[in-house]
């Protein structure tokens, strides 16, 4: 490992990459930390501090080269080093990921998907085959994916975590809606509800603000 970076900084890196992507698309070659600050809603000093965690990338007063900065951040995230993944549960969400999610941009190759539904088995979605879930243990043993993507109902989460542990699958991208606790694995729990609850909070707050303004 080249860098020891705090979890908070890591969480901001994908956002930096997205912003730099859109700058590149607009043909912007250089950007100052204060411009980036405006686009990201972070302070310029926060941004400089973040970039200093992994060695800078810019010179004070000269701004950052957008392409270099993006490459640098992608290097920190290690996306050039390909990881492999298997998806379990080819329901609507699973198929949405297979069809539309840009795995390769994240440095991940989706090798196969698994489902128990005979009508789905053998179908291809986004170029990836849906295989019989009964084949999953053999696949984990033979192909040793780095990541298992759980897009199946939460009742199966524990069983899948045990299976992943047994076959030494180190990463779990978890859409089951439960929090997976595993000392042996790296887990990212995706909770879409967190985002809707946050949206609702701000919406209700601003509506109440409006009402208060009207009452004054």
């Amino acid at each position: 490992m080249k860098y020891r970076i705090s979890a908070n900084v890591i969480k901001r890196l994908p956002r930096y990459i997205r912003t730099l992507d859109s700058l590149q698309r607009d043909g912007t070659e250089k950007i100052s930390s204060s411009d980036l600050s405006g686009r990201l809603g972070l302070t310029a000093s926060q941004i400089r501090q973040d970039f200093n965690c992994f060695g800078g990338f810019g010179h004070q007063g000269y701004g950052y080269n957008v392409a270099q900065l993006k490459k640098g951040i992608r290097d920190v995230l290690g996306v050039e080093e390909l990881l492999t993944a298997a998806l379990v549960g080819a329901g609507n969400l699973g198929r949405a990921l297979m069809a539309n999610f840009n795995f390769s941009e994240c440095g991940v190759k989706l090798m196969a998907a698994f489902d128990t539904n005979p009508e789905k088995i053998g179908c291809f979605v986004g170029g990836v085959e849906i295989m019989d879930a009964a084949e999953l243990p053999r696949f984990l043993k033979d192909s040793a994916p780095d990541i298992i993507i759980l897009t199946l109902p939460k009742d199966y989460a524990d069983e899948m975590v045990a299976l992943a542990e047994k076959f030494n699958v180190r990463g779990i991208w978890n859409f089951t809606g439960t929090d997976i606790e595993s000392g042996l694995q790296v887990v990212e729990d995706v909770h879409l509800s967190d985002s809707l609850l946050t949206l609702g909070y701000y919406l209700r707050s601003s509506q109440n603000d409006d009402r208060e303004r009207k009452l004054r």
Copy 2:
């Protein structure tokens, strides 16, 4: 608005609720901030500080009543005050939300979905009708939903934001993969890639740690 709470605290509240839910399911009635701390990976003082933002809920040394604490946090988020939503784009992701996402737990009622595909129009998913996208403007005008959920390709994002602005839809739950900038609206951009990039970073780091250990 009853409270002014920082964005960082708000972001942690859904996680508190999930943890309290699972404690309730296990029959736990009281919990100390240090127990919560262990479950959440936050310091006990951070947790006490968060709860103090909205008036406490506990007495030092006595722990928190799980049910009361959960209710208190749900009140802060305002989930008892129902918001309404319309979903645009009944593809795999849209249908996954319609079929499986627990909107009511988030204090939101999904009223209708919209799509351009004639084969989908008129179908019901999760009890919600998929209507003709051509009807969307009229629906926004007549039913005035609080939130529009964008589960359609990113090329349509700008058009939808403009439509939402026109009909005074204040909240946007955005799955298009672009960041929506809108001064008039409350936006939550969902970027699943952030989570996979973070997972990949920790996975690659820990693998490199293992390699280093083996080389020693």
